[in-house]
Chain length 455, copies 2
């Protein structure tokens, strides 16, 4: 009988996160205060984040202890199983061995709780009573709702209005976990009221939702703000995925030739790949591929620049690949990949050629996602389908070359709350989007005045 | 650090199912042919089931080998993890230790694939090309869709029309796994056309859907019918749950004082409990409780009689606890528990006092389901919430008595596609239903002419 799963018991859960800042060949460009053009200090971030997270954001310590209380909550579903996708391999007729880390087993159905839990914890011990956040598709809002409830924090989620209306199950999940979820723009903030006055029918945007969440956090008592991707400490928390995967690959008697993750803000990709980037920096021969949508080609077409993290320009300037903070991606189904920028850490690795970036059209992603569901059973989230397309391409390449490659990827979440995308696919209504260079150029023109990172 | 999970590796998956028919103190009453009043023989069932399943239905062999090809598919998610619910215990303030078997980890989100996989397999090797089935809430239809795709069988699912309209995600899941799903009554069968002619606006019923699926199976080439609960072989397939749980309880150094499952047709309850009923028959001191909805009190209020399995009287007569095949349960959210009868094997154990039955109102079930989601993270299916209510009651009883009881239960599935029920709960719109004795009496009057089982 072929072995399908490699499972770790509770005792084997990693006790430390891996901080890639300790091993970067080139240090990160510091985030800048947009008003002064100077690097931001802890005091600039203190109004929205607790000090422990700010310290993790800038730490260069290689290993950072996971607190006991965080481990206890992570054990509700972690360590997650590593699987070998024998059936998918067979369907492709590839000699490649395909392993996947199933992050869909979390109560929220994705990798997002890996950072939601520690963020709630560090806020709790710092005396925070309440958090605010934004959510687009809803994965992050759900994960943080659960985490806040487990640590006894209140939470208000500003959910992009169009998602709020189209995805009623997401807000019901948040409510079940005790969070308040409102459509954004809302009447609860000045930003929201101003935008509603100008355009009562606006569908909302992630940029607006971020503005509302930050405004709420800085103007409310005992309240901080929480973000589910992009930041260094989020990438840090997610490395538990790759650290577990390493142990499990050892159980399988294997080591990957290729590591793959889908990339929106970059957090699940960072999670699966950074522990292998560590090996690569130390001489290991491993390719690492970030898979992004052609409709939001941040890494493949966006320049490395200083840009805001949000549309409303409330964040510091971050040095990253970006399509410009006013870039509005077309309405592809993978809501979690519709972000104009990408984590500064991921951007740095791309610049240093430690990772590769590739982009995929969603029709191709769904073709392979359906093949996946029909061979491996589990129905992938729209985001994960991008990683699957990348895996399939590499596996077919291996077939062509007659090489037995070993591929590991992060199956970042299940698609049980995103089945509408499959429906569109079967109905032949799934659109592909090509982003013209002119559109990117236009979006970037608006931020030409911002400082440039030295290269 | 408290241990939360007890995981088995692939090698430890049970290789045999446990057949409780080998150990029954009293043998089952045979199913009867309603036309002749004589016990049905294999030839009566051959038009709708393959011979291997008919043999399992009547076998008294204690252990039945699980075929290698079935094991290979079950390994896609099995063995499922056993958890200790430390946080839920703490919230109840109980000295009881609560363990749960998480069947929500399957691709379809419930225990249903445990029987869907072997049913698809035995049909495949018997030369069946196509299956038909019915589904109410959609769990079984989804599970069989996945199983048929994995074995290369076509499937047509007749889905109760009101569910078809209210639960679009379920039909999208079935479609993703390649099945055809039509609302029942449909225009595709004589039964369906007749009913639509009489009542074009009928919401449909499980009884009608069963009739359509059976009519389709017997009138189509190379086609058989499949059922997701009630039958002996379905209970047999589900015993893999309890067999795994036994190994995992041993890992935990524990043995249950109480085993609990929710009961609709009885399959997940049979699965978790039969291996422990075996122990009880052999002298072990263990209580076994089936939790059913007050709105469909089959075991607690239904007499033990011969009755049809379906409204349209297409099945043999089965000796079981029943509210009468014309009984229409009120619209409680746990669609999987809305069945007028219960598995003959479960009925037999109840008569022989080897198991107990208790009923719960859905408002109470949701109260504890919400507490569960807010402490353990995972959001339970409406069906599983009934088991959770039973667990909570026993745990609170243990608290009152100051006893450290060990409780094991089957967490039969997640509720991510049933969040509307939680929404109703929070909106204060969740209704409780009391079934009056008169209503049951009236329902039973219609079948007073049927043969009676000797006691």
């Amino acid at each position: 009988m072929k072995r399908v799963k490699f499972v770790l018991d509770d005792k084997s859960i990693p006790k430390k996160w891996y901080n890639i800042q300790a091993d970067l060949p080139t240090p990160l460009h510091p985030p800048l205060n947009p008003a002064t053009g100077k690097p931001v200090g802890p005091e600039d971030l203190a109004p929205i984040f607790p000090m422990a997270l700010i310290e993790q954001e800038v730490s260069t310590k290689r290993w950072i202890d996971i607190p006991e209380d965080v481990l206890e909550k992570l054990l509700l579903w972690r360590p997650s199983p590593l699987y070998r996708a024998h059936n998918f391999e067979k369907a492709l007729g590839t000699p490649a061995k395909i392993y996947f880390k199933n992050e869909g087993v979390s109560p929220a159905g994705s990798h997002k709780p890996n950072s939601a839990i520690p963020q709630a914890y560090y806020n709790k011990i710092a005396g925070t009573k309440r958090l605010t956040t934004e959510t687009g598709a809803g994965q992050w809002g759900c994960a943080l709702s659960m985490a806040c409830k487990l640590f006894g924090l209140d939470l208000k989620v500003y959910m992009v209005r169009i998602s709020f209306e189209q995805k009623p199950y997401r807000k019901m999940m948040m409510r079940t976990w005790g969070a308040e979820c409102v459509p954004s723009p809302s009447r609860d903030t000045e930003t929201g009221r101003r935008i509603l006055a100008e355009n009562p029918d606006t569908p909302g945007s992630l940029g607006i939702a971020i503005s509302e969440a930050i405004e709420d956090a800085v103007s409310s008592k005992n309240t901080k703000y929480s973000l589910g991707s992009v930041l260094n400490f989020v990438c840090l928390h997610q490395t538990i995925i790759g650290l577990e995967a390493k142990k499990q690959m050892k159980m399988a008697g294997d080591y990957p030739d290729i590591v793959i993750g889908c990339v929106g803000g970059g957090s699940n990709f960072a999670g699966i790949s950074f522990p292998f980037v560590h090996d690569k920096i130390n001489g290991e021969n491993v390719r690492i591929i970030g898979a992004e949508p052609s409709a939001c080609p941040t890494m493949t077409k966006g320049p490395f620049i200083y840009d805001f993290g949000d549309t409303a320009q409330k964040t510091p300037l971050m040095a990253m690949h970006s399509l410009g903070h006013n870039f509005v991606p077309p309405p592809l189904h993978a809501g979690g990949l519709r972000y104009h920028g990408v984590a500064p850490l991921v951007s740095r690795l791309l610049l240093d050629n430690l990772i590769e970036a590739k982009s995929y059209q969603q029709s191709e992603c769904y073709k392979y996602a359906v093949l996946w569901a029909q061979t491996e059973g589990f129905i992938p989230a729209p985001e994960a389908s991008h990683a699957i397309a990348a895996v399939a391409k590499e596996a077919l390449q291996a077939k062509e070359e007659g090489k037995e490659k070993t591929i590991l990827f992060c199956w970042s979440g299940h698609g049980l709350l995103d089945l509408g995308a499959y429906d569109s696919y079967f109905a032949g209504k799934l659109k592909d989007f090509d982003i013209q260079d002119d559109a990117i150029k236009k979006s970037l023109t608006g931020i030409a005045h911002l400082p440039k990172p030295s290269l």
